[in-house]
Symmetry: C2
Subunit: 546 residues, 2 copies
């Protein structure tokens, strides 16, 4: 028997509609690419998103069409999030930090019909040249006065955002359609192969937003002021562009200004209470605060994800600035949030050493997902905080496949292989210990490359370190430590290996050390271990350690 409840689809347009009706005066403040600060309200954003949506329809954009963006966090990008998804087209956010050939691949693989581009990326667009041939138009996100002189391939229209939306209708009524309709597309840039697209649905995005706004997760209220440093051009700015309108929180967009000085100024001027970003951003802000003596007294919480946040930084923000650093973890394929670190009953909520210790973990599962860890044979591992294995997730906002059916091996029996290796403790707190492809499988047991790297960089003679697996006749794989020496030091192989004594089990200690001038990195700054493994594929380990 079915319930007798109103049947309405979960649609993204309901967010901006609600924000305009119930929080019409709440502000959206943006640092712009053109210079200066732009201010308006949810009421204004809603009207302009409706203009954009209806203008797209007039140009023939249909349900399911992909609309690309190359843009910073700003009010026009927000309008695109809602205007495009609102009419049933797909917001395809493109990471401008990728290599140009990756961007060319992505635009063509997605078959974007229009590209919306911030002025910063004029050179990038020019560099793409004929790779843009399949696009109908490039819309620069500015007014006529700021339009750049760009030559586009034949047949590709050059358009001005403000003129584009002036053609639209601000009283346009958002349509209803199937809640499983795609609303967003974001490509992951793995370290191997071509980027693969995660195709989000209205339903999954809405359920993610509800869950991510629970008090033990982002927990935004209408009294919050949110500054998402995490980009809207990748992983949906961790959902903040949906979470804030859902509760009418004030939104502050940094535009291209992600340096410590700019962030501090916006936080102070706008009264930011919550911000979200990756560790490097918070390191930049911390350095600026310490050198300038400036404060961020309105800030209660800094959400950190993307990679592990060092304890020293959590402590610095807590002790020196009274801000709670909260660790989060997610993936492009997970919309993106998976876990979030807030204390359970009986744990430390107040800033202090216990809180900082607890924040070393990536957090506990958000309601609406399931997770498990398993060994190489697919056996589930216990939640004891010690056993580590492949982290698998499933749930309402987890991808079931990649766009156009690629990368099928990541999706197994209703579970998504995250590619992360993790522990889960008895309270349900998960901690990433490695990437699946980087873990060293020694005689059937796993060794965490990240744990070894963290120890190695603690040695004063080490500037950067990577641990990779190296083939071994008896143990299959053994760890090899690759080190860039700190300038002016001359640490030896023997010193480094001895440095591990007492810090890990004896059988975890690397079999050998190689010194190099520098390590290869991805476009987003991660160490390219694939390249490193290729380079040392012929390396022969000494046999003494057997």
């Amino acid at each position: 028997m079915l319930g007798l409840m109103q049947e309405k689809p979960l649609l993204i347009s309901s967010l901006i509609d609600y924000a305009a009706k119930h929080h019409g005066d709440a502000e959206i403040v943006s640092n712009t690419v053109e210079g200066g600060t732009h201010r308006y309200t949810y009421r204004d954003a809603d009207r302009r998103a409706r203009r954009l949506g209806s203008a797209l329809l007039r140009r023939g954009v249909k349900l399911g069409d992909r609309i690309g963006t190359l843009a910073w966090n700003g009010y026009r990008h927000l309008e695109i999030y809602y205007g495009v998804a609102g009419v049933g087209a797909i917001v395809h956010t493109i990471n401008p930090r990728l290599f140009p050939e990756q961007i060319a691949y992505i635009v063509n693989h997605a078959e974007d019909s229009y590209l919306f581009v911030d002025l910063t990326f004029v050179p990038l667009i020019e560099g793409l040249g004929d790779h843009l041939a399949g696009v109908k138009g490039v819309v620069f996100m500015c007014d006529r006065a700021h339009m750049p002189a760009v030559t586009l391939p034949a047949g590709v229209e050059l358009l001005c955002y403000e003129e584009f939306i002036a053609d639209g209708d601000e009283t346009y009524v958002w349509p209803e359609f199937d809640e499983r309709t795609a609303c967003g597309l974001c490509y992951t840039s793995g370290t191997t192969g071509n980027p693969k697209g995660a195709l989000y649905a209205h339903r999954s995005t809405m359920l993610h937003a509800y869950a991510a706004n629970l008090p033990d997760v982002f927990g935004l209220s209408s009294r919050d002021c949110v500054l998402p440093v995490v980009p809207m051009f990748h992983v949906n700015a961790w959902g903040t562009a949906y979470l804030a309108p859902m509760v009418g929180a004030k939104l502050v967009f940094p535009g291209p200004h992600l340096d410590g000085e700019s962030l501090q100024r916006q936080m102070e001027e706008e009264g930011v209470t919550v911000s979200a970003g990756v560790p490097t951003v918070w390191l930049g802000l911390l350095n600026y605060l310490r050198s300038s003596g400036k404060r961020i007294d309105s800030v209660k919480r800094l959400v950190i994800g993307g990679s592990a946040c060092p304890r020293a930084m959590t402590k610095a923000y807590g002790d020196e600035y009274g801000a709670h650093v909260q660790h989060a973890w997610g993936m492009t394929e997970m919309s993106p949030l998976g876990t979030y670190n807030t204390p359970k009953a009986g744990m430390a909520s107040d800033l202090g050493e216990e809180y900082y210790d607890d924040q070393l973990k990536q957090g506990r599962l958000i309601f609406g997902l399931e997770m498990k860890i398993q060994d190489g044979d697919g056996n589930e591992l216990p939640w004891d905080g010690k056993a580590f294995g492949d982290l698998m997730v499933s749930g309402h906002w987890v991808c079931s496949a990649y766009y156009k059916g690629e990368g099928a091996d990541a999706h197994v029996d209703g579970w998504f292989r995250t590619g992360d290796v993790a522990t889960i403790d008895s309270r349900g707190f998960m901690q990433i210990t490695d990437r699946t492809k980087d873990v060293i499988k020694s005689g059937g047991e796993w060794i965490s490359s990240i744990d070894l790297e963290n120890i190695a960089v603690g040695h004063p003679g080490v500037a950067e370190a990577a641990v990779i697996s190296c083939a071994h006749p008896k143990w299959d794989e053994r760890p090899l430590l690759v080190v860039v020496r700190r300038e002016g030091t001359d640490v030896s192989r023997e010193e480094l290996l001895a440095y591990f004594n007492g810090k890990v089990a004896k059988w975890w200690i690397p079999d050998d050390v190689q010194f190099v001038e520098d390590l290869p990195h991805t476009a987003t700054g991660k160490i390219l271990k694939t390249k490193l493994r290729e380079r040392f594929s012929d390396h022969v380990l000494p046999t003494a350690g057997d």
Copy 2:
């Protein structure tokens, strides 16, 4: 184009499953009917709910079967919420405060196959006699030692809860089914006609739970300890039985002990942080606190709904006990939450006169719903805090019809007529001013009977007052004030009418006063204005006021 996201139904079983996995040690503490306190954890509750669900299946209960409950807030009732809904059957909560003939009607209208009953209600069950003939079994919620000696109609099995679930399997795996499947049934007891059933779905209940747990609504975290005084036997205890497991909050159930002394003791002993109930409950607690000198220092928030909370009570809890009273509004047909009163940015969050003023309103709309007010001709009215009209709602957790298709006139063009008359101010805060059937329609303009009653009871000579419409040849309807004099006083018609001068517009002042010995009430304590209107249907108003 559809998104490529995992498709999983929104099912209630996921709540208890999550709570057991991620908050397995969090406590559920119950005052029992048998006497004493019962303590266990979400892990235990989950196992016993699985036992119950599988035991029901073994007895032939199928998807869509109705299972009635006559029970207080307690751990076994919680197990029934999850065990019954978990297997796709329908939890039909019955309000034991209804008249026996209403309960008999409801049990038979719902065609309940089993009834789960607390020991308190043995006399009620015995009184129902042959009206229970359609039921397969009555399960008393106790162990064998506490089983009552009851004679049931022939063919109706007498069962013991603990034995019933002992037959089940605690490793039973919750099944998957359509998320629109019905999970709950609750009858509204209007003042006219037979009760009508609201039939909730898994999807609507889950979306309601997500939305009701947003930080600007109930906003529970795993560090909260929740005491729902609002009954699980009506309007789903305002969702608290779903909200708490969703975040792993500790649950404290009062059982049948709703007096001030019992509530204060539980709050203090268990460290309750949030509680929810109707104004009479909070009045009882307040009186007890004041007379005993006891405290409720762990309590941060008292959620009040059901009827309007007097400002004096909001202020008393704030000034004397440091607790935030939060006003909420909802209906059986709305799962039940519609609005909730938390401050927006710029409004007073701290306790004080401004906060108490703001709490006079029922609050602002929860994300996931829509609302509007309209006049008698269906024209939408402005949100200016002055215009008042019929309150209409729609959304994911609003009924589209009543069980078996009754009461269709309440459902119009996708909107549900709440039967309330309300204002909405420019910030979106809604305030109930009357019931649609009680408002007085004088010459096309509306007069709020509640506003007039609130003034009348302020007069020292008035014990109780009701304002009803009375037919009038020129104005169609005019207000008639019906008053029960306070004992020992002898207030006159003229004194009372003069008392309204300067308090309302002149044309709002009642045309006449009638003094009575007592007013008729419903089973739940509301004034039965239908009865009163019948009684005064022949009353002729004086013509002087024309």
